[in-house]
Assembly symmetry: C2
Homo-oligomer: 368 residues x 2
Amino acid sequence: MTEHADPAAHADAAAQADPAAVPYRPRATLRDVAAMAGVSMKTVSRVVNGENGVTPQKVDAVRLAITRLDYRPNLSASALRRSSGRTAAIGTVLEDLANPFSSALLRAVEDVANERRVLILAGSVDEDQQRERALVRAFTERRVDGLIVAPVGEDQGYLRAEMEAGTPLVFVDRQPQGLLADCVLSDNEAGAGQAVHQLADVGHRRIAYLGDLAGIPTAEQRFAGYQRALLERGLPLDPALVVHDLHTVDDAARATTALLRSGGGSGDGDGPTAVFASQNLVTIGAITALQDLGLETSVALIGFDDFPLADLLKPRVSVIAQNPAEMGRVAAELLFQRLDGDRGRPQRILLPTTTVLRGSGEIPPAVP
Amino acid sequence: MTEHADPAAHADAAAQADPAAVPYRPRATLRDVAAMAGVSMKTVSRVVNGENGVTPQKVDAVRLAITRLDYRPNLSASALRRSSGRTAAIGTVLEDLANPFSSALLRAVEDVANERRVLILAGSVDEDQQRERALVRAFTERRVDGLIVAPVGEDQGYLRAEMEAGTPLVFVDRQPQGLLADCVLSDNEAGAGQAVHQLADVGHRRIAYLGDLAGIPTAEQRFAGYQRALLERGLPLDPALVVHDLHTVDDAARATTALLRSGGGSGDGDGPTAVFASQNLVTIGAITALQDLGLETSVALIGFDDFPLADLLKPRVSVIAQNPAEMGRVAAELLFQRLDGDRGRPQRILLPTTTVLRGSGEIPPAVP
DNA sequence: CTGAAAGCGCTTACAG
DNA sequence: CTGAAAGCGCTTACAG
């Protein structure tokens, strides 16, 4: 207010208050603490690291100096010199930190790491091999203690050098290619099979498959499960009911609409009477299309992967649920087991999926 | 297989293949590269950092050695010695990495940071002040270049030392207390006002407020907006229509049920004819309750904060949408602006909310 | 254009 | 119980 009344005074005040003129206060170092406490750096180091064999008086003097100087140890410097070299940080490379699957997984990793006071570096790859490699490199250049990776590239052989250097590595969601390493996966094939069996149990014989990009290993496994279950049920595999390469909600909605228009969902044409959507976004696209066509209560639907609010929709959406949090937890525990020295052969852990019947997967085919 | 036939052979094979017997290959250092290339460490350093003034022959020799040794520079060591001290990593302290708001925000921060080849350390506080401080401390001990914090504690004064040491700090979602610093917030009060005005426009006079823990600043601001809008509309503030301290879906569902049973949602009692749910989980709880009571098409509802699938529910759910991605982007850009030397006075950026009318917010009160 | 010496902040490996 | 010297992997500040 005063400043506006008197520009000159304002300028002066600003110059004086100009934060750029105030140099940053340098951080106190171990040496500063030692000087203030009147002891050697080694003694301060002992106190900071909780080693014993320091007289109480010196401990107090050091503690006081630490408080007064607001000393924060530099963990990078400490890790550099330490024989273990541990940085107490791990890197997590995921598909997209914003999607529910990745973020639930990340959160579970965090919870396990947190118990050990280990921090998380995280990044998204967006289905881009270059990003995967760039992130891994960036993490290793910072000497993370371990890596959890949801691989997207076609070859993870480039990680061999890291493994040989002793950096534990656990893959999640998708199996690594060209490298033998720990991994934690959903049992995609069995899960897809469960969906088909459920739909067949209700009486469906024309079950559509809506799948993600055919090159993705998880998509392939789910399609394999679909095929195998049809076989087990003695149902024909009708190519007209199979659509691959759907990667967005819109893709899936369009494909669903086309499929149902071709035969009607009433069972009286050659269209499907039930739909298995092999992935989250595809499921949502299918729901959108079913709603638009007014067929949501007459065509059965089971989606792979659960999603929030699935039980608030009408009908409630039945799903084959994965457990990303469990995947993250198991992966992190395996990683720390390796960090603790376990050098047994690489493990491949398959996590079971859960069939969650809420309504849409129980709709029977219309009786002609 | 053979191993099972001959346990001794197996043991032998295991001993020979025992990975614990294989020592990890130590990582190559600058010194190793220099030795192999026949140059000094300084020359290697120049090549690694892309400085010029090195003869092409030496550059080639160094590059060759780097490739052959699979050399990865140690960025921690480099940062320790560098005058800037930059670690090319920032810390992000959020409410819960698994919730959609936090994860969308984090992802946006990542995208901005990624352009500058800066990495993200991230952690969840779960509404716990201790965790907030512990995470901040852990991040600063690793000398992150900057901090983005969604504060939960009642006082952020403890961060003053960090700011004075030159670590830029940007708060998101909630305003810091006891510290003047940059922050990026949703305009909660105006957003809540928009909701009430919309409902009043449709004819509602009895609008319930379902709120989060009363101590949370954002909840307070939303309640303030609710009150102010009622005043502007000349509507009475009926304490019977106000419920605070809802923090879970179940809390909210119970409160909604109680509220509607008390007067019926039909407008003929003294219950509400419309509901303003001030937070995501509360909105979902309210929807659950409305559906259970069969009132979802007769009681109007507007939720604060958008959520996935809101437009697949019946009726579609109207919301006051925040923009967590924009919040993250703006916060990150502000942070990097500070890192680039901007030492202007702290900014407080208010992000506008958007009213998204999808159906539930347009339901008129029943005519008695 | 190139490199030897010193030092970032800390811990190790000793010696007293 | 305590501390002086050396060194982790790198860059700085020089000197040639």
